[in-house]
Subunit: 144 residues, 2 copies
DNA sequence: TTGATAATGATAACCATTATCAAAATACGT
DNA sequence: ACGTATTTTGATAATGGTTATCATTATCAA
C-alpha cells in the first residue's frame, strides 16, 4: 500500500513545520494518488465530492500546494490555462509527449537529453535547477 | 528595415483571408517587433499608450493572436500566469534558459536535443509537431 | 458612393486561483 | 481531560489575465 509512505511524508512535513493534521488532507492525498493521472483541482474536487461533498475547493488548492512543498506532487502547466497536478513520489522524473488531437499523455524519459541540458546550462553560466519539456504531436491512433 | 518583411507577411495573410487592414495592426506590429523581447500584452499596451493612447487592450490581444496565426509570433507560457509573445520571423527556433531569481532569459539552441526529441516521438508512435523546452536555474550574476 | 462586412474600443463576462474571515478543529502544557 | 493558542476549514469575495459582446467606425469592392 504505497499510500502509507506518502502519508508518512506528508505527516512528517506537517510535524516538522508545526502545522496541524486534518482528515481533509488525508482524503485529498488519497484521492489524488488513486486518480493516477495529471489531474486538475476541479477534477479532483469532482472525485472527492462523491464521498465528501463538504470539502471546499480552496482546501483542495491549499492541500495540493502543501503536497508540492513536501515533494509529493508537482505542478504541470500546459497551455489550457489550468494547472495539473502530478504525483512525484516513487515516480521517476519524466517529461511529456502530448497528442494535440486527443490529449493523450505519454511520460517519456531521456537521460541523454538531460545530460545535454546540463551542458547547455553550464555553458551559459547557469546552475540548472529544473526543466520542463513537452513534446507535442499526433499519436498513432489519431494519425490513422 | 526588417519591419517591411513582417508587414508584408501580415498584409498577405489579411488579404488571403479576406480580412481588412487597419492602422492599429501596423502600430501594434511595429511596437511588438521593436520591443525586441518576450513581452506581455500589458507591457505592450504601456509602450503603445505613449503614442497611441486610444488603442484598447482587446485590440492588442486580437492583433497578437493574428500575428501568431500568420507565423510572425509565438506564445510563450511560463508559470506566472501571463502569456508572453515572442517574435518568430527571421528568428531561429530556440528554447529558453530562465533565471528563477532575476527572470533573465537566454535563448538556447541544441540540434542534438531536437534530434533526440524526434527519435523519442517516433519510438512512441507520435508524429512530432512542436515542443516546448524551458530550463530553469540560477544565472551567474544571481549565484554570486 | 454605397452596401456589406470586418475592426475597434469600452466594458462586461469568464474562469482559474487566491485572499479573507468567522467558525471549527487540533495540539500541547497543565 | 481542560483550556488556550494556533492552525485549518469552508463559503465566498476578490483578483487578474484574457475573451466575448455590441454599438460604432473603418475598410474594401463594385
Amino acid at each position: 500500500m504505497p499510500l502509507h509512505n506518502e502519508l508518512a511524508i506528508l505527516n512528517g512535513y506537517i510535524r516538522k513545520n508545526n502545522l496541524k493534521s486534518s482528515s481533509q488532507r488525508g482524503i485529498i492525498l488519497e484521492a489524488f494518488l488513486s486518480s493516477n493521472r495529471h489531474i486538475t483541482a476541479d477534477e479532483l474536487r469532482d472525485i472527492i465530492k462523491i464521498e465528501n461533498p463538504n470539502i471546499g475547493i480552496a482546501t483542495i488548492y491549499r492541500t495540493m500546494k502543501l503536497l508540492c512543498e513536501c515533494g509529493l506532487c508537482r505542478e504541470l502547466i500546459l497551455e489550457d490555462g489550468k494547472t495539473r497536478f502530478e504525483a512525484v513520489y516513487d515516480h521517476e522524473h519524466h517529461d511529456h509527449l502530448i497528442c494535440t488531437k486527443c490529449g493523450a499523455f505519454v511520460e517519456i524519459l531521456s537521460p541523454e537529453i538531460e545530460k545535454l541540458q546540463k551542458k547547455i546550462a553550464r555553458k551559459n553560466g547557469f546552475i540548472l535547477k529544473s526543466h520542463r519539456l513537452n513534446l507535442y504531436g499526433i499519436c498513432k491512433a489519431c494519425s490513422k
